[in-house]
């Protein structure tokens, strides 16, 4: 990677009148394979490289990218960005500011026991085929199964002296399984991912996990009873805890969303700046977003503005404690950036994003969470889910769920619907488990869209006195 090109871009933008300039150059090599119903449909590889330049001129922001990595094209992108920023600054009433950012110089990479650069398409396809063959085939009538690996090298520099180089491999396994029982179908959508070398592809472990999910989905279909209509206690497994942490805590605590910057796309937030410190949940609820978790799918150590990443306690003991910020949203709220600026690729503006969002573990075992539940539902995983664009009304439909009666886990429950407001959800938690589990996911935001790698997670949590939804 010719880092000089990025340095030249920053110098040129400054020379043209930008009060701030940054350049992010990325080289991506990747490959993926797809099996459809066991048939190797297609394999592919990608080699992508380019540079994104962001400048601030008279308080106006502009971004330009090119995938032509020659000096003339890069300089032309600089000129474009400064020119368009200057044009919009003429009608700007509130010039934009950035929060202070320390100049960081760092070069880091993810350690790989088995380097994915040495993995060929035959290895990818073989791994997929081996996992597929090990799955229970009896009721699995359809499968759409893909494995993608990518290696992303990135160099970021800005006019304040930051120079950050990173090298991050990522793997992503996706499966949509269609399961048949007595003429009816159910579907399980499963994702696994990590920032890791090829050692992540432990075929036995992955086959076992996916196989179990399929068996449980089938069992739920075959034996599932209707969810109770009366008030129940809910015990949510890590997958459900994680999606709730992501959707109803991570998203509404994004600084740019609170400030309305994503209003016409991913929406706004029911949370406002003046709610900082307010009790939003029970005292046992703490939610953390931490990009620095080793081998996590959302891993990074420096964000795409060169700010050092750190864990953020979004909800602490039930109180709103922190928002996710980049330098723009931080300045607007008068705080420092907490390193939440991420972009999908060199051709996307970095915006405020989550990384790995999870509920902080407590002290309970699953048995302890269940033992004093008289009537309840254990929801370990979900199918359909969504939440409104202010992040207030959410819904998760259980895929693997069981009835809890008098402290014992019993029969499967078919498709219980948890449909409730965000404050009601976080306030209903009365106990938190001790073992955390994570699920890989792709979070959507930004215009044009930027699907980005994240973990969602947490331990089992217990919610008291819940009225389940349904027709």
């Amino acid at each position: 990677m010719d880092r000089d090109l990025a340095e030249i871009a920053v110098s040129k933008a400054r020379e043209l009148g930008a009060e701030y300039a940054e350049a992010r150059m990325e080289f991506v090599s990747g490959q993926d394979s797809l099996l459809k119903n066991g048939n190797p449909e297609v394999s592919g590889f990608e080699r992508d490289a380019g540079i994104g330049i962001r400048v601030k001129v008279n308080g106006a922001l502009a971004f330009a990218s090119t995938n032509r990595l020659d000096r003339d094209s890069v300089l032309a992108a600089c000129e474009r960005s400064v020119r368009t920023a200057r044009a919009s600054s003429r009608i700007m009433k509130n010039p934009l500011e950035f929060a202070e950012g320390k100049a960081n110089i760092k070069d880091y990479s993810v350690f790989q026991k088995k380097n994915i650069s040495n993995i060929g398409p035959e290895d990818v396809l073989r791994a997929l085929s081996e996992i597929e063959k090990a799955l229970p085939s009896e009721n699995l009538v359809g499968s759409y199964f893909s494995l993608g690996i990518e290696h992303r090298e990135k160099y970021f520099c800005n006019s304040e002296g930051s120079k950050i180089a990173s090298s991050i491999p990522r793997l992503h396994l996706f499966m949509l399984g269609t399961i048949l029982e007595d003429g009816r179908t159910a579907q399980a959508m499963l994702q696994l991912g990590a920032a890791s070398g090829w050692e992540f592809m432990d075929i036995d472990k992955l086959s076992h996990f996916l196989g179990n999910e399929i068996k449980m989905t089938h069992k739920n279909m075959k034996e599932g009873i209707k969810a109770p209509k009366e008030l129940v206690d809910m015990v949510l497994g890590p997958e459900v805890t994680g999606i709730a942490a992501h959707e109803s805590c991570g998203h509404p605590y994004e600084g740019d969303r609170i400030l309305g910057r994503e209003a016409a796309q991913a929406g706004e937030s029911f949370v406002s700046e003046d709610m900082m410190g307010q009790q939003i949940g029970s005292e046992v609820a703490t939610v953390i977003d931490d990009p620095t978790l080793e081998n996590s799918y959302g891993f990074y150590l420096y964000d795409d503005e060169g700010i050092e990443a750190r864990p953020r306690e979004l909800i602490k003991d039930g109180k709103i404690n922190d928002f996710l910020h980049n330098r723009e949203s931080a300045a607007r709220m008068g705080v420092e950036s907490n390193g939440s600026s991420r972009s999908k690729n060199y051709d996307r503006e970095a915006i405020v994003r989550m990384a790995n969002t999870y509920v902080k573990p407590g002290e309970y075992s699953l048995e302890e969470l269940v033992e004093d539940v008289k009537l309840g539902v254990l929801m370990n995983s979900f199918m359909e889910w969504n939440i409104d664009d202010k992040r207030y009304n959410q819904r998760y439909i259980g895929r693997e769920a069981y009835l809890i009666e008098n402290g014992r886990i019993g029969a499967p429950v078919k498709a219980p619907i948890l449909e409730m407001t965000t404050p009601a959800f976080w306030s209903a938690i009365d106990a938190v488990g001790k073992e955390v589990g994570f699920t890989a996911a792709t979070c959507g935001k930004g215009e044009p869209g930027q699907g980005i790698a994240v973990f969602t997670g947490g331990p089992h949590i217990r919610l008291r006195n819940i009225k389940l939804g349904g027709e």
């Binding site: 459809k36 119903n37 048939n39 190797p40 449909e41 297609v42 394999s43 592919g44 080699r47 992508d48 490289a49 380019g50 922001l61 502009a62 971004f63 330009a64 990218s65 995938n67 032509r68 990595l69 094209s73 032309a76 474009r80 960005s81 020119r83 368009t84 920023a85 044009a87 919009s88 009608i91 060929g120 398409p121 035959e122 085929s129 759409y144 949509l176 269609t178 009816r184 159910a186 579907q187 309305g260 910057r261 209003a263 016409a264 929406g267 051709d347 503006e349 199918m383 969504n386 409104d388 664009d389 009304n393 819904r395 409730m420 215009e447 869209g449 819940i466 389940l468 939804g469 027709e471």
Partner: protein, 440 residues
């Protein structure tokens, strides 16, 4: 090498090196965006890109790649052929289309690619118009895009297409909980009307002030084109033979069956120059055509490329993507009723103006939910009586299509953040739509 020569070069080189089937497209383009927030420009963005997509098949083993370093083409072909040797055979691969073909030659609005400072001015017009008509803050984007694609295949296909278009998407707020959203997509810049878009979104936001909590139950719903486009995008996606094979279609095994009322006809039309997206050829070079997916309520065809067509005893419908078939656009035939007539026809129902976060419980059965966003109005005895909030649609897609009661006479082309496929639809009324909400 000029970019227009690259596909032919790649096809020749790959053929010499032993590939059976080769498809290569080279593209270059520019895109510009003005993003506005809180009634101000938040950022301007410009993208310039060049790239090459290559699809190779040898001994029924298939591989694709995307590269943007044009100096690595020979290495890329060598790598692909080396990788292919190690791949497994695809039972489903049935080859690509044999050309040559003739393509219609359509012009495009050359002025769009020259726009730059004007985009900021047009944005200002939209914002001002929304603010004059009831908004107290406005957010959105304005895009201009232009680009050229050159295609060559080992099936004796050579083609190229240049296109340009513009999109505006504007959300106006009259309060934190009262908003209206309007979008417009055009291929002729004279048709872009930021003042109308701003005005309509601003007025809608104002009308949506002071919403009350919505009620659960089954009610008749009038959907705007912006809202109904969500359902049609999923219907067009379900019509792809690729989706059917992957277990992601609620139209599986329904060819020849009734999937909607008699007055529902849904098409994918790559030949309509008035549609903002209507390419002359598909990913294999097959000329695009008008495909009637649903005719008078009956599902007539899936969308095919050469492989899926042969596997289904059909012919290609001109919908090849790089790997799987896809719709180019989706439109339903308008009816005769105006929006006001349809409101007058509803005794107890809702007028839903936008949707988001549509998620399926099961793609095959079509069980899903989606969330109304922006203005939602209650209709009583044929009149709008006020705004409501905090509701969800929890439904089944095939059932809902069969419950379409009226299709309006006012089609609009919709494409925005939530609806990626270009969809042309009027207002539509669906009977007995199931509404749920948070239990606590």
């Amino acid at each position: 090498m000029d970019i227009s020569d690259i596909p032919g070069y790649v096809v020749d080189q790959a053929r010499k090196k032993g590939a059976d089937d080769i498809v290569c497209s080279a593209h270059e383009g520019e895109r510009k965006q003005v993003k506005f927030t809180n009634s101000e420009v938040a950022i301007t963005k410009t993208w310039e890109s060049t790239g090459v997509d290559i699809f190779l098949a040898k001994d029924r083993k298939i591989m694709y790649t995307s590269v943007n370093d044009l100096h690595t083409l020979d290495k890329t072909i060598n790598d692909m052929l080396a990788f292919i040797k190690m791949m497994a055979e695809s039972e489903n691969y049935q080859g690509i289309a044999d050309g040559p073909f003739n393509y219609r030659n359509e012009g495009h609005d050359k002025r769009i690619s020259d726009l730059e400072g004007e985009l900021v001015e047009l944005t200002g017009q939209a914002i001002d118009s929304a603010m004059r008509n009831g908004a107290n803050r406005v957010a959105g984007v304005l895009y201009s895009s232009s680009g050229t694609v050159h295609l060559a295949t080992s099936g004796d296909v050579i083609g190229s297409q240049t296109g340009s278009d513009m999109d505006i998407s504007l959300r106006a707020f009259a309060s934190k909980e009262a908003s209206g959203h309007m979008v417009q997509s055009v291929s002729n810049m004279d048709e872009l009307d930021p003042i109308r878009i701003g005005m309509e979104a601003g007025m809608m936001a104002k009308e949506a002030l002071n919403p009350s909590l919505g009620k659960t139950g089954k009610v008749d719903v009038l959907f705007t084109p912006l809202a109904f486009a969500n359902f049609l995008e999923r219907a067009a996606g379900s019509a792809s033979a690729g989706s059917v094979d992957a277990g992601m279609s609620f139209f599986k095994d329904k060819i020849g069956e009734k999937v909607g009322p008699e007055f529902l006809t849904m098409i994918d039309d790559g030949t309509d120059p008035k549609m903002v997206v209507s390419p002359p050829f598909d990913g294999e070079g097959v000329p695009t055509q008008k495909n009637v997916i649903i005719e008078n309520g009956v599902l007539k065809t899936y969308l095919h490329n050469t492989s899926t067509a042969k596997l289904n005893d059909a012919v290609s419908t001109g919908n090849a993507g790089l790997v799987f078939p896809r719709a180019w656009n989706c439109a339903i035939t308008p009816g005769s009723m105006s929006k006001d007539d349809m409101i007058a026809d509803i005794k107890d129902g809702l007028y839903i103006t936008n949707l988001w976060y549509t998620r399926f419980q099961n793609y095959q059965t079509g069980d899903f939910s989606t969330i109304p966003r922006d203005a939602v109005f209650e209709i009583k005895d044929g009149k709008i009586t006020g705004a409501v909030k905090d509701i969800r649609i929890s439904e089944n897609m095939p059932d809902m299509l069969n419950r379409i009661k009226h299709i309006g006479n006012d089609p609009e082309q919709i494409r925005w953040w939530e609806v990626g496929l270009l969809v042309k639809t009027p207002h539509v009324v669906v009977e007995g739509v199931n509404i749920t909400k948070s239990t606590q």
